[in-house]
């Protein structure tokens, strides 16, 4: 790369950082344009990496610390303050890991507390996470405040019991029945705890990783999942 070109790229990157993309987009030469854009992306990444450090400095000052941006950090901390010892793991950016014992009270509080007001259970599902553990996951959303969190509750297979939230979010009724149907997590306090999609007398829970299809069902041969392509 010639020195001329390098200088040109540096100039354009500075402009790009200031938000003037038109000039960069107007470059005829595709190679040069690519180089400029790559340099711009690199500069932006560097700027981003530098930014959080400054924030930390601000937080260390004795004045009011600004609440952290990530909802999982913020609401996880609120839950910990209100229900001490209910978190099963440290706070992180993607989800809040809770213990199953007082989930019902926490869920009730999450819905009724005016600053949180999670009035919508968007999605509920379960997962076989291996090592003899099953996990229930709740995606909560607040229509009024427009914020969103994911809650995970892990239980062991031998004692797969989680309090039901069916009376808090009415859709929990069907969602929890489906999770029970597919993974065999029992929801305690559910008023209509039956299978949802499979027949009542089906054996096993299909979405567990070690599930094996039963040979016959009422004398009908059950087709196996085929391995690979035929």
């Amino acid at each position: 790369m010639s020195a001329d070109q390098e200088r040109l790229i540096a100039e354009l990157v500075e402009k790009g950082l200031a938000g003037e993309m038109d000039e960069i987009n107007a470059i005829e030469d595709r190679v040069l344009r690519g180089k400029v854009k790559a340099a711009l992306a690199k500069a932006k990444r560097a700027a981003k990496a530098a930014a959080p450090k400054e924030e930390k400095l601000v937080e260390e000052s004795p004045t009011d610390a600004p609440p952290s941006e990530n909802p999982h950090q913020k609401f996880g901390k609120m839950i910990e303050d209100k229900f001490p010892g209910s978190l099963a793991a440290g706070l992180n950016d993607t989800h809040i890991q809770l213990k199953p014992n007082n989930w019902f009270e926490i869920a009730k509080w999450l819905k009724s507390e005016p600053t949180l007001h999670f009035d919508s259970l968007q999605c509920h599902t379960g997962m076989d996470v291996g090592e003899n553990m099953l996990e229930a996951r709740y995606n909560l959303h607040s229509m009024t405040h427009d914020h969103y969190i994911e809650i995970r509750i892990a239980v062991s297979r031998d004692n797969a019991k989680i309090p039901s939230t069916e009376q808090i979010w009415r859709i929990g009724d069907w969602f929890e029945r489906e999770t029970y149907d597919m993974l065999g997590i029992h929801f305690e306090g559910h008023r209509d705890h039956r299978r949802m999609l499979l027949p009542e007398d089906w054996e096993g829970y299909p979405l567990r990783k070690d599930y094996e299809v039963q040979e016959t069902y009422h004398g009908i041969v059950v087709p196996k999942v085929k391995e690979g392509w035929e």
Binding site: Q122, W169, R170, D173, L197
Partner: protein, 373 residues
């Protein structure tokens, strides 16, 4: 004379019944002609979508999503690829985004036309159904022109779409829109303000907004209850933030807010908004660009999970995808809007007459393929 106590009778509607829109069984407890309790029984169309997903690669899931909501297959493709792309942090070319929006909005019109027409059919109005199906046919022709399929497209791929728009598509699309817009007025004259239709739908099956939110009801059904919530507006995905359109909500025009007529009419209004979006998208779409340019060689999202939502004709379609870093998803959960819409039926239909149950069920616009998966 004392009060006469009738005996309660348990009645099955379905699984094979023309008014259940698929294989759905309704266990109905009746007291004479009044419904005292109604329990939907589902699972007759269960095809193990989520189990299949754990055995195929990410791109092989797309044809399965077609078969979930088979009346809005484009919208389901869209929801899934948006989720995978978000997980991979993949950016798709602008032209692809435009094509996707155009397809999704045409699909919305097609799906709503069928929903409205069949709803009329449920109530006993045969003619509007034929009119709406005739116009839906022209949209399907356009899909066929683009990707060769009329119902199940497998059109949207992770990172792109399967085919570029064919020559003459934009002109055909504009011709259709010019033809179609005056037709909406005709539907209104035929069905919307028809006295018999209004009598059968207004003030019936009222869904209050709090109940709707608690049941996770979304899309037109939620908006008919007066809640202005549309993912295309409230948390825009793809390029929906570039277009101007209104989010119509119910206002109890013929009766109470959130009744069957409102749910019907919100869909009719939405068709108009889709036309608006289509006109903007077709005009703004970049002329050239390669739709296969951003296709990844190997779809291998990083370890992690994502819950991504898109607005299909039926409401919020969510995909919860867990990736373990391999080319095969570790778990795919589909949160389908029709599932939550059917869950609310038990609450809605209690206390109404037998004939009203059909009217309420039709107004929810469910697709059993998506409920049972």
């Amino acid at each position: 004379m004392g009060v006469v106590h009738g005996e309660e009778m348990v009645l099955n509607i379905g699984p094979q019944h023309p008014s259940t829109h698929g294989v759905l069984r309704l266990k109905v407890k009746t007291d004479g002609e009044i419904i005292s309790e109604i329990t939907p029984v589902i699972g007759y169309l269960h095809r193990c979508f989520e189990k299949h997903c754990e055995n195929v690669t990410y791109d092989q899931v797309i044809p399965y999503t077609d078969r979930c909501d088979y009346l809005a297959a484009m919208a389901n493709n869209f929801g899934y690829v948006v989720a995978v792309e978000e997980l991979m942090e993949l950016k798709v070319p602008e032209k692809v985004e435009y094509i996707r929006v155009i397809m999704a909005e045409f699909q919305r019109i097609a799906s709503h036309l069928l929903a409205l027409g069949v709803y009329g059919l449920d109530i006993g109005a045969f003619t509007p159904f034929l009119f709406m199906l005739r116009d839906r046919e022209r949209i399907l022709d356009m899909f066929e022109m683009t990707c060769g399929a009329r119902l199940l497209y497998n059109y949207m791929w992770v990172g792109g779409v399967s085919h570029d728009l064919p020559k003459g598509f934009v002109e055909t699309a504009f011709q259709f829109l010019d033809y179609f817009e005056p037709q909406i007025e005709e539907y209104n004259n035929l069905l919307t303000h028809n006295k018999i239709f209004v009598e059968r739908t207004a003030d019936i099956g009222v869904l209050p907004p709090e109940v709707a939110i608690s049941y996770g009801v979304s899309g037109p059904n939620l908006r008919a209850s007066g809640v202005q919530w549309d993912l295309r507006r409230n948390s825009p995905y793809s390029i929906y933030d570039k277009f101007e359109f209104d989010v119509p909500v119910g206002d109890g025009g013929k009766g109470t807010l959130g009744d069957c007529w409102d749910r019907y009419y919100v869909r009719m209004l939405e068709v108009r908004e889709s036309v608006k979006i289509l006109r903007q998208a077709l005009a703004q779409m970049p002329k050239d660009g390669d739709v296969h340019q951003a296709l990844p060689k190997k779809i291998r999202p990083p370890k992690g999970s994502i819950y991504s939502r898109t607005e299909t004709p039926r409401g919020d379609l969510g995909f919860y995808i867990e990736s373990d870093g391999s080319p095969i998803p570790s778990r795919v959960k589909m949160r389908s809007p029709a599932f939550t819409a059917l869950a609310v039926l038990g609450e809605l239909a209690g206390g109404w007459m037998m004939s009203d149950v059909i009217s309420i069920l039709g107004s929810l616009d469910i697709v059993l393929g998506e409920i049972d998966r």
